[in-house]
């Protein structure tokens, strides 16, 4: 009996320990291929060259155009999702009836369950033609519609995490504000939002991290032309799209071109890893304020 119990506990422990193995494997896979890549292409070239053309005859290995593309689509997505998501969070907390809240929250979550390839189709076939009707210079593939659609996708992420943060603020603070004669709006922006700012910040950081790693929307709608630009109207390429582009082609295993996707993946991983850990840190450091 004793032995059996120990064996079961051991198996359960092993299942939990596999998660560490996964992390180690991810880092090892990215590092080992990246190191081989950087033995042929210096890290200085990688960071300073202004073009990314590893698949052309004349090869340039500057990651910055891909980073710029990723940054651009992410910035547009956050510019859409942050005001809308935060307003929803405040509205549901300060204005809406409890019954409306329980009805609308699952509906908003539907936005996050739609497969991203479907959003990509939407961006390419609906949003881009619609925007082209009043933005004449807009290319068929562009960062703008990909970013907008990505923003719609991450609305529920910001709204639900921010809402949790706002509703964690003690009642007494809200009631004190009302007691001073504040309107709901003044209470929301004067008291509730500042009091839950760390939680709101966490939701924004996680949303950024999600947008940076998003693949199919940008692969379908934003183009495949690495370009060092902040112009949202022209085709660009993100880090994720480049990995997809190479994966679909016939790049031989072990070649320098093959290794570029791991160097690009490593760059992406570093960004999301830093963002995620920044959010954990903020959560840990500031969220116990009212306990």
């Amino acid at each position: 009996m004793r032995v059996q119990e120990k064996i079961i506990e051991g198996l359960l422990w092993l299942s939990a320990a596999i998660t560490i193995l996964i992390t180690v494997s991810i880092i090892w896979v990215l590092l080992s291929e990246s190191i081989k890549f950087f033995s042929e292409v210096s890290i200085v070239r990688f960071l300073t060259e202004k073009e990314w053309t590893p698949l052309f005859a004349e090869k340039k290995f500057g990651i910055m155009p891909l980073v710029a593309g990723t940054f651009l689509t992410t910035a547009i997505a956050i510019a859409v999702a942050l005001p809308i998501g935060l307003t929803i969070a405040i509205y549901l907390n300060e204005y809406a009836h409890a019954r409306f809240k329980t009805f609308i929250k699952p509906l908003l979550e539907v936005l996050a369950t739609i497969p991203t390839v479907v959003y990509g189709f939407f961006a390419l076939t609906v949003v881009t033609p619609f925007l082209q009707s009043f933005i004449p210079g807009l290319a068929g593939f562009n960062a703008l519609s990909a970013g907008i659609v990505m923003g719609i996708m991450i609305i529920p992420m910001i709204s639900s995490l921010s809402e949790d943060a706002i509703s964690a603020v003690p009642r007494s603070l809200r009631e004190a504000a009302y007691g001073m004669g504040s309107t709901r709006l003044q209470t929301a922006f004067g008291v509730m939002v500042p009091a839950s700012s760390s939680g709101i910040l966490v939701s924004i950081i996680l949303a950024i991290s999600r947008a940076v790693g998003e693949t199919m929307i940008v692969a379908i709608a934003a183009g495949q032309q690495p370009r060092l630009t902040l112009n949202p109207l022209v085709p660009i390429e993100t880090i994720t799209t480049y990995i997809v582009q190479v994966s679909m082609g016939d790049v031989p295993h072990g070649s320098l071109e093959y290794r570029t996707i791991f160097a690009a993946g490593m760059t992406l991983f570093v960004f999301t890893f830093l963002l995620n850990n920044l959010s954990f840190w903020i959560k840990k450091k500031y969220q116990e304020k009212y306990d």
Binding site: E5, T116, V117, I220, S247, F280
Partner: protein, 285 residues
């Protein structure tokens, strides 16, 4: 206008803006779904569901794509389900509050935030190259299992946490061992919540295209996979492939395939919501 009136007006204005924001996303979603249905629903017929892919849009079907999606769904469930639940049980019931368990927790949170395409790179090196599997169903399912594992673990833990202490104490008082308590009391009491989480995780896996493209799943597979060692494609990859083509007829095909994919996703989510609802009704601690 007095200051107080101004403030009240601003308050009202924000309320209207709040309602607008709450519905804007849903309205856009509705426009989009209607657009897709108008474009694609006429293309869905028995032939579309049972035909192999083709170079000609009018003759192409999604048989291999949805068969591949079902394969991936079942295989990923078989791999991630036991592993994730076992890990969840360990962390919630067995692990002591040590540095190691703390590290495990942070690590799982971190894994949940790793972009799906990175899991694709992991699968490419680990399963496709080192284990020499190639771009087959098993490699795809293993990759997606790793991707959804953190979600399964986190939801398992939450479901187990909701089981009150008294149930365990009662079981121990009757002389049950730790594992007997977990197996006979805690798991049956939390299985509804666990299943909800697993199904939500699977609905995420069904929509993933990027990691499978990276491990080398093909867009054109002229046969229905008959074992986990076969090459495969899935609905999201088929949709991606059709969307990338210039001809309008292929876009119609993509819209039709999207309707099928959304039906599968909504069905899975519906089951999850139903299970959660039933669980909440059945058990009142």
């Amino acid at each position: 206008m007095t200051n107080s009136e101004k403030n009240r007006l601003k308050d009202k204005a924000f309320q209207v803006f709040g309602i607008f924001c709450t519905f804007i996303g849903l309205v856009v979603l509705a426009i989009f779904l209607i657009d897709i249905i108008i474009e694609g629903v006429g293309r869905i017929d028995w032939d579309f569901l049972t035909s192999l892919p083709s170079r000609r849009a009018g003759r192409a079907g999604i048989l291999t794509a949805w068969a591949g999606t079902i394969w991936i769904l079942v295989l990923s469930a078989l791999i991630a389900f036991p592993l994730g639940i076992a890990a969840g049980i360990y962390l919630e019931e067995y692990a002591k509050k040590t540095k190691l368990s703390n590290f495990l927790e942070i690590n799982i949170a971190n894994l949940a935030g790793v972009p799906s395409i990175i899991y694709g790179l992991l699968g490419l090196e680990l399963f496709v190259r080192m284990m020499n599997l190639g771009g087959i169903l098993l490699a795809g399912a293993l990759t997606l299992s790793l991707l959804i594992l953190p979600i399964v673990i986190v939801t398992t833990r939450e479901a187990i946490k909701a089981v009150p202490r008294t149930i365990r104490d009662g079981s121990f008082a009757l002389g049950a061992s730790k594992w007997q308590t977990v197996w006979n009391q805690v798991l049956p009491a939390s299985i509804g919540g666990i299943l909800t989480g697993v199904i939500l995780a699977l609905s995420r896996a069904v929509g993933e295209a990027a990691p499978l493209i990276v491990i080398g799943a093909l867009a054109y597979v002229p046969f229905v996979p008959s074992s986990p060692m076969d090459e495969f494609t899935v609905l999201p990859i088929q949709i991606f492939n059709w969307t990338s083509r210039p001809q309008a007829a292929f876009l119609t095909n993509a819209a039709a395939a999207i309707i099928i994919l959304l039906l599968i996703t909504f069905l899975l989510n519906g089951i999850a919501v139903y299970l959660r609802h039933r669980q909440q009704k059945k058990i009142k601690w």
